[in-house]
């Protein structure tokens, strides 16, 4: 210890042997500072960092040049994650004693590893940001930031305390407890940590109570599953189990009936009403649309009828013109008299029979039948010959065509009629053959043709 005035070493006397100044009070101050340093060292040894900081700050208030106290204070700050505070103390310490100072080593370690220092600085910035989030009521963001801070610097005591406070605020007691327990491992006697922990324990059952509850249960392994069975509870008897199930079912049905079902029904009714309204609206739209379409259909039908009438009128006019043309052509051929009876017959055949019988004029019909009668004998004969030849040659289509014409021009010619029946019969068209045969039987009774026709009818009918 040196004199505060002259700087010379002091003796055990209460005055300086060099300058004579009274150093009794000065010595007491220095001794008190030293005792506080020793206390701080003891506290730091048992990780009572808060207590150590209090003692060291008092020590330095008494003796600012206590280099060991300042270095220890820096170390304690560093242990709590307060890197800048630690650096400040070590820098001041180095200024007080530039040589043989362990603070020099501490500072050098940090300076030689700029990445680590930068990491510490980032941690501090994130912590400050989290604090700002807390003040802005952005608790979720603050928690995220603080988790990052702790992952980067697990010894950052204030970050853990703030995170625990946030968990307490959100009533996440178990998480708060975990953070506070870890904070206590850093600083064993921190009053803030202890106060928060007390709050958590008051709000949440303690570990002992948890243990007690656990003891009330029997835990055993079944394969990969852990089965927890309440201790002291006897195996439920079969009857009781059935009763419990029945009661459970009754309660379930009751709940469903009184609570769930009415709500479901109400919901279903509301849905149905909404659906009904939608469908009604849709129906109205469709009805209007259908009315429009019906009106359109009626208009189109009327138009169609008008067009049909016009078409029929046009057809009638057209068929009349064609019939006149055919009759004139047939008349011209007949006037030429060059043996073209068959051609005339074919031209007359083109005239529509319905028109001829119902719509044609009397003079038209007279001319038609006059020409037809005059060529009838020749046409009948030629047609009969051609039909008979074709029948023999088994060319039934040609035979039927010619024989029909022969019958038309000579209705009394029994041979032609009979052969026409044969042509139909042999061509396999028996349904037309039978009436022809019947006509032969009726018109020419007691003849060979009638007898044969009757036999063919029986044969066809399988009699």
């Amino acid at each position: 210890m040196n004199c505060y005035k002259c700087g010379r070493p002091l003796s055990e006397k209460n005055f300086c042997t060099s300058c004579g100044v009274d150093v009794g009070l000065y010595k007491k101050i220095i001794y008190t500072a030293n005792r506080l340093y020793n206390d701080a060292l003891d506290k730091a040894t048992v990780r009572d960092l808060s207590g150590a900081i209090t003692c060291l700050k008092q020590c330095l208030k008494l003796n600012r040049d206590h280099v060991e106290a300042r270095n220890l204070l820096g170390l304690v700050y560093f242990e709590r994650g307060e890197v800048v505070a630690a650096l400040s103390e070590w820098v001041i310490s180095k200024n007080i004693r530039p040589e043989k100072n362990i603070a020099d080593d501490y500072i050098r370690v940090l300076q030689e590893n700029p990445g680590r220092l930068d990491s510490f600085n980032q941690t501090i910035k994130k912590y400050n940001m989290a604090l700002a989030y807390c003040q802005q009521d952005s608790t979720d963001l603050a928690i995220i930031q603080l988790k990052k801070v702790i992952s980067m610097n697990p010894k950052f005591l204030e970050a853990r305390q703030l995170l625990a406070l946030l968990y307490i605020n959100t009533q996440e007691w178990e998480r708060a407890r975990k953070e506070l327990t870890r904070a206590l491992r850093i600083d064993a006697n921190n009053t803030t940590t202890l106060r928060y922990l007390k709050e958590v324990e008051e709000m949440q059952p303690s570990e002992e109570e948890h243990g007690k509850k656990k003891k009330e249960a029997i835990v055993y392994k079944s394969g990969n599953d852990t089965v927890i069975q309440p201790a002291g509870k006897k195996e439920t008897a079969g009857l009781q189990a059935v009763m419990n199930i029945v009661i459970g079912v009754v309660l379930g049905v009751g709940i469903a009936y009184f609570l769930v079902l009415p709500a479901r029904i109400r919901q279903a009714q509301e849905d149905a009403n909404v659906r009904f309204a939608e469908v009604s609206e849709l129906l109205d739209e469709k009805t209007v649309e259908a009315d429009g379409l019906n009106a359109q259909i009626e208009a189109l039908m009327r138009e169609k009828e008008d067009l049909s009438d016009s078409l029929n009128a046009a057809r009638g006019t057209g068929s009349a013109l064609q019939a006149d043309t055919d009759l004139i052509e047939a008349a011209l051929l007949h006037l030429q008299d060059d043996g073209s009876e068959m051609e005339i017959a074919e031209t007359l055949a083109l005239i529509d029979r319905v028109y001829l019988e119902q719509e044609a004029t009397e003079s038209f019909r007279n001319l038609y039948y006059t020409i037809k009668n005059e060529i009838a004998e020749t046409v009948a004969k030629k047609s009969y010959d051609a039909g008979s030849d074709a029948l023999r040659a088994e060319d039934y289509d040609v035979a039927i065509e010619n024989l029909e014409r022969a019958v038309e021009y000579a209705p009394d010619d029994g041979e032609a009629l009979y052969n026409l029946g044969n042509a139909y019969n042999r061509s396999g068209n028996t349904s037309l053959a039978i009436p022809i045969y019947e006509q032969v039987v009726e018109q020419f009774p007691n003849t060979e043709k009638a007898r044969k026709s009757a036999n063919y009818i029986k044969e066809i009918r399988g009699e």
């Binding site: 101050i29 600085n121 910035k125 807390c134």
Partner: protein
């Protein structure tokens, strides 16, 4: 019961590395020895007057 708002006020922004120099410069390093020296000096001056 912990009052969250009140507790939050007890937390202060941590010093960043850029602020270290200013912190060191503005740190009050006056100790009890300084007070003692000042008191002795003042006392001597009063006696001298």
């Amino acid at each position: 019961m912990i009052n969250f708002e009140e507790e939050l006020k007890k937390f202060h922004p941590s010093l960043e590395v850029e602020e270290a120099e200013r912190t060191i410069k503005h740190q009050d390093l006056t100790d009890m020895v300084d007070v003692l020296v000042r008191v002795v000096k003042d006392a001597k001056e009063e006696l001298g007057n």
